[in-house]
Symmetry: C3
Amino acid sequence: MSPVRTLGEIARLIGAGLEGDPSTPIRDVSSLERAEEGTLVLVTEASYLSRLAQSPAAAVIAPPNLAIADRPVLRAKNPRLAFATVLELFHPPPTFPPGIAPSALIAPDATIHPKATISSFVVVESGAVIEAEVILAPFVYVGPRARIGEGSRVHANVTIQADVRVGRRCLIHPGAVLGADGFGFVFDGESHRKVPQVGTVVIEDDVEIGANVCIDRATVGETIVGRGTKIDNLVQIAHNVVIGERSILVAQAGIAGSSRIGRDVVLGPQSGVIDHMTIGAGSQVAGQSAVIRDVPPGAKLAGSPARPFDEELRVIAALGRLPQLLKAVRILEKRLEALEARLGEARD
Amino acid sequence: MSPVRTLGEIARLIGAGLEGDPSTPIRDVSSLERAEEGTLVLVTEASYLSRLAQSPAAAVIAPPNLAIADRPVLRAKNPRLAFATVLELFHPPPTFPPGIAPSALIAPDATIHPKATISSFVVVESGAVIEAEVILAPFVYVGPRARIGEGSRVHANVTIQADVRVGRRCLIHPGAVLGADGFGFVFDGESHRKVPQVGTVVIEDDVEIGANVCIDRATVGETIVGRGTKIDNLVQIAHNVVIGERSILVAQAGIAGSSRIGRDVVLGPQSGVIDHMTIGAGSQVAGQSAVIRDVPPGAKLAGSPARPFDEELRVIAALGRLPQLLKAVRILEKRLEALEARLGEARD
Amino acid sequence: MSPVRTLGEIARLIGAGLEGDPSTPIRDVSSLERAEEGTLVLVTEASYLSRLAQSPAAAVIAPPNLAIADRPVLRAKNPRLAFATVLELFHPPPTFPPGIAPSALIAPDATIHPKATISSFVVVESGAVIEAEVILAPFVYVGPRARIGEGSRVHANVTIQADVRVGRRCLIHPGAVLGADGFGFVFDGESHRKVPQVGTVVIEDDVEIGANVCIDRATVGETIVGRGTKIDNLVQIAHNVVIGERSILVAQAGIAGSSRIGRDVVLGPQSGVIDHMTIGAGSQVAGQSAVIRDVPPGAKLAGSPARPFDEELRVIAALGRLPQLLKAVRILEKRLEALEARLGEARD
């Protein structure tokens, strides 16, 4: 952890406005729920102010218009961004001395940049390329001809299969598997015969991949994850999927073969997309939903199968009244019968 | 496996009542479906008696009131518990000689208790602490300053990131990842900027964690799994989640950021809890359900989104009649129209 | 990659009919979307012909009756199968020299066939058996007494626990865990006491197991995956599950304890089967469905909980009209009320 800084210093470093004593010492950042003395906390809404009042936090990061009377405030238009910056300030990422650990096994014809860090018990196979400032943690496997781009960090127990290409500044969490075979079989009348999966996976720059994520190699061609896309834990990405830039795939989501996800898409937790779908840019799919039709750009969907979000909300609300509706219709039927009978009489 | 024991010995060791010949030799435990000669089986309900009749099992563990005529019986108030105890008797857990395998790499300033077992190809980083009677299997990574409590067992290919604390007598299955970064980003207008995840994970005593489970570190503060909680395979626990004691998270369930799960809660398989929820103690959430509102203690919920269990049952039953209901309403409309027409005539 | 071949050679090797110049050189296979010059592509339906027209592909594999005018065609009754065969032709699986890498740690009483390939940093424990032509990638753990059958390939970071038996010609992708403890506890009034999981896992021949899949060992007896069954990534198979031959479990599906899945069953992505179910041979369960009742052979199910597929389709269609239905019934009620009032008057 970094040393204590003054609030004035922090304001200057992150470019925030300051209300209160610039000499206020700040020793760390904390959550509002568990704030400690001498720390800076984030408050984005008035509803948190009562909690703040009881907190020993030394100062607050807050948006421009939120009135805060009881302690110094750093004002930021995007307070979450300011908070992230201060987090970095107090918790700079660890640095790793470059070099290859004695126990790492590097194929003679693999290329390791002298500024890369290869930890103990790493295997880098023939023809693989590890660029500058890459960090490979223990038990990382890099298959033949795979390439890890400059500044990427690969955590422990990650498997990167043959020919997979990882871009620059990517972050891959433990247990992720890049480039396992796609799930492709053809029934030959007797058994499911394997369709060789001879394509690969391309991860563009600035992608983050969560723990135990699976991204399968293409049957032929490439499974692609676009620049700046962020993938949460336990997500499944099947063969030949193409994901655009800056999309967000939340935990346990799954995308079946050959689907194309546009840029700036959000797939909620435990959602699914069947094969060969196209999801337009900027679309959002709620958690546990299932996309079974193409989705135009900018759509908001929910449900299994997925409907437009507002429609699904109405369906959900109506569903709760379905049992009463059944009763209401039975009553209507009886009333109508009675009426029909009476009208019959009336006519007689 | 242990040697043959007599039924009398077993009755005495597990404190069960005995009906039948105490000298009956028992060589192992088996399932009722695949019982073998000389084995003890568990029968908890009368519906299993016909299967028992055809089984070569030597004896039975059964509850007090279940009439069993055809072979010796161990009577136990909690027959499942008695069965578990007999399983332990015949299959004591393997023991591991303490010591550090020659190929393990232990940082000079890590602390390994002399009674711990560190297998081959284990990495323990700087400042980490491994307490007495801990067993680390091959390819376990223990990050800087992490701590593994007394008597815990960590299976192969588990990744425990920096600063994570694991309590005593925990059992962590292969491929689990503790302390990967939480999934936190803030959009800066151009890209999803990473919010540094500088908190950690605390696993209390007696927790079991399934294979390929992911438990993310807190943004700041701690993600906490309470004492005695059991987590099945492939479960996702996001940053800053707090789980109470003795809860049960069934396979493939997922809990989003900052949610608080009370004690004695059961989350069914493939269920989900969105972020910032509070689930009260003793609540039960059915499989594939989605909790999107706070849940009071003792609630039983089902559905996506989750409703009270009984209500969801009624909705499900009603749903099956929905297509007919549509028809019924169309018929009602026609009859009403006809009636309106006739009444019009009648009035004329 | 293999050298260039002529179309005539390929036709002969895969037993396909040929229309066009047999001397056409083919250098590889590609997808229709990203076809390159000199490659062979697969076209199964007329809807792809416009894309083919714009593609530089040198030739096409197509079914017998699909008219293709603009380039040479290989005719095959099962074009997907033919495509798979050509893929194998151009991309034969890599071969591995047999032998044990110097860094692998093999227990003195483990049996390694001289034709097996044991990579660096593999651990094979006491009593384990590795048959001929098995390939174990780095960081594979093979527990005590486990057995890997002839010709099976196990990718990096896979954990195979004690006593697990893997058949012949199986393919196990990275991060899979075979034989972790089943999730079995019995509440003793104070805590969830572990039920020892002393059974094992049996994987029959020709099974493929996806990345990060979890297959738990039986409490007693065996969890079984039948011959020729294919399992996609991140699937969960609980203790004592028995899966028949040639079934297909798509990504992120989960099967709870003791359920029996017949042969030729398909479980869709993210589907779930609760414990102690029986699913008949040839049944198909749609994605995100939940099987909570026994399923007869040949059934097609969908929904959570699962219904017959056609019924679920009707329910889904009806659901979209539910909000209007609520309105329609309210209108009916008013009209009926008015009618009742009028009829009351009419009678007066």
